[in-house]
């Protein structure tokens, strides 16, 4: 079980401050929903969690140890797009992570190890409901199936932390509901910490155990450059099966810019 500590993190691009003074700590096994207006730095924050970007100031700790400064298998990710590899079938996409680990030189497995990786991957595909599509290429899958595949692909590495950047933003409402259920089940089974960026407040409250909103506090034109977004509210959600009603005191402003 993993505890993430974000200490006084700032991110500045050139002379544009994007995030300022982000501080929070998560309980092990949290499902954090990150919301906020477009361009406020949610994806930037996830990129820092991934190690793809370094914070300009401050630091991020996992179980008290500073983050590796590049992506690694303990932090899985699912993006809205380009999350799966178009040249591999569903099965190959999921097996890939196992092959990387076991075969440094060729990146491929053979014989018994391959059979094992294959079986593990098929199980994983089954648990996201893709058993019938294991030999299809991503271009042959619908959007919802592609995102389920991306989740399976990330989970097979058993990451301590799973980072989701608007993973369901492009899906139809009905399909979205299905994937939500799968997501919640996997989260409970695997016991990992999840950070999910979303634009949809009801999704945030439906899935998250905690909803954190980023927003700029100072918005006057002359302040635009010097000040970035920070945490404007941070709310624990109890009882995960409660209806997707945002609490009365939360303004919708965070989701609509």
């Amino acid at each position: 079980m993993t505890r993430v500590t974000v200490e006084n993190v700032w991110k500045v691009y050139g002379d544009q401050t994007v995030l300022e003074n982000i501080n929070f700590e998560t309980e092990p096994g949290s499902f954090i929903a990150l919301v906020g207006p477009s361009g406020c730095g949610k994806s930037t924050f996830l990129r820092m969690m991934l190690g793809d970007e370094a914070p300009t100031r401050g630091r991020i700790l996992i179980d008290g140890v500073e983050l590796e400064d590049e992506p690694s298998p303990d932090r899985g990710v699912v993006f809205q797009k380009y999350s799966v590899f178009p040249h591999l079938t569903a099965l190959q996409n999921v097996m890939l992570g196992l092959e990387f680990a076991a075969s440094p030189f060729t990146g491929r497995l053979f014989g018994r190890t391959k059979r094992e990786a294959r079986n593990a991957s098929l199980d994983m595909l089954k648990s996201v409901g893709l058993t019938h599509a294991v030999h299809k290429y991503p271009s042959e899958l619908s959007g919802g199936m592609q995102q389920r595949l991306a989740i399976a692909q990330a989970l097979i590495k058993k990451p301590k932390i799973l980072l989701l950047d608007e993973p369901f933003g492009a899906l139809d409402p009905g399909i979205r509901n299905e994937v939500h259920e799968i997501m919640l089940r996997l989260w409970r089974e695997e016991g990992m910490t999840i950070f999910m960026v979303t634009h949809d407040l009801s999704e945030a409250f439906k899935l998250g155990t905690r909803v954190i909103a980023f927003d700029r506090v100072r918005n006057r034109p002359e302040e635009q450059k010097a000040y970035g977004a920070t945490v404007t509210f941070d709310l624990k959600v109890d009882g995960k099966s409660a209806p997707p009603q945002p609490p009365a005191d939360v303004t919708l402003a965070a989701a609509a810019q």
């Binding site: 793809d52 690694s72 993006f79 590899f85 092959e99 990387f100 030189f105 990146g107 271009s139």
Partner: protein, 271 residues
């Protein structure tokens, strides 16, 4: 009246329209040839059909008196061998450098400007240096093809590689891939079809350089024959050779496209 932009020819008129410009060219040739031949029956510039078909028979279906070869076929074999080897080498070099240049920041910093400058040098103008380095035999011809097209292939592929979504590279790293594994399992398989596109685009230049090389020092090949025949304005041989090169170029292009479709099904599945 619908707008011109909304009107589509049906299958029959599409075919008719397609062959129209070819028919016009053929007729224009026939008229011009006729006119010249009526002035000078031995005119070599625009020979009549019978002269051309004689030449085709002579080059393709009768053995050469001196060597006993069927010249068109032996020339084709020489040229295609050179072209094939040259393009293969260029593809290999272009593939490796293109991918590294598109993917690895240090590699890009080192070679980007250099290949940019290289691609601007007209290869024909540095022939003497090429001769010194590669001699004057088959190697030189192959190398002229390689040097002529490799900068383009590198630059094209480097661009394509840089276009791979950053998300994919990040995702691969979160799955534990090393740089080498990323290249091997993510980048190379996705870039192979693009590489074929790059090769297809540079085939025209490859032919050009091959012909130039064969014009400079050779004793066989399609370019050799064309430039030798040019000495005697033997257009009855040159025209069929040009047509033949055009057909070969088409066939090569088509077979690369077919290969791409068959070998990289993932690009064409689904939508």
């Amino acid at each position: 009246m619908r707008r011109l932009i909304n009107r589509r020819p049906d299958v029959a008129s599409r075919f008719g329209l397609m062959i129209l410009p070819f028919v016009i060219v053929v007729i224009a040739y026939m008229v011009a040839s006729e006119a010249r031949l009526s002035v000078n029956p031995n005119d070599k510039l625009l020979p009549g059909w019978s002269t051309i078909s004689d030449a085709i028979e002579r080059m393709a279906f009768l053995p050469d008196q001196r060597t006993g070869d069927y010249l068109l076929w032996s020339d084709t074999l020489s040229s295609l061998t050179r072209l094939g080897i040259g393009v293969a080498i260029a593809t290999l070099i272009g593939g490796i450098f293109g991918i590294l240049q598109g993917l690895i920041p240090y590699f890009r910093a080192t070679f980007n400007a250099f290949t940019g400058v290289l691609s601007m040098i007209p290869p024909l103008s540095v022939l003497p240096i090429l001769f010194i380095i590669f001699g004057l035999g088959e190697l030189a011809k192959v190398m002229l093809v390689v040097i002529g097209i490799v900068p383009f292939i590198i630059r094209d592929l480097a661009l394509r590689t840089a276009e791979i979504p950053h998300e994919e590279i990040i995702k691969a790293q979160t799955l534990g891939a090393s740089t080498w594994q990323i290249i091997l399992r993510i980048v190379v398989p996705q870039m192979l079809p693009r590489l074929i596109d790059g090769v297809r685009l540079s085939l025209g230049a490859a032919w050009l350089f091959l012909i130039a090389a064969e014009a400079i020092a050779s004793d066989s090949g399609l370019g050799y024959r064309i430039f030798l025949m040019r000495r005697y304005l033997a257009m009855d041989v040159i025209l069929p050779y040009v047509a033949w090169i055009t057909i070969l170029a088409f066939a090569l292009d088509l077979s690369l496209r077919l290969f791409q479709r068959i070998a990289f099904r993932w690009m064409y599945r689904g939508n």
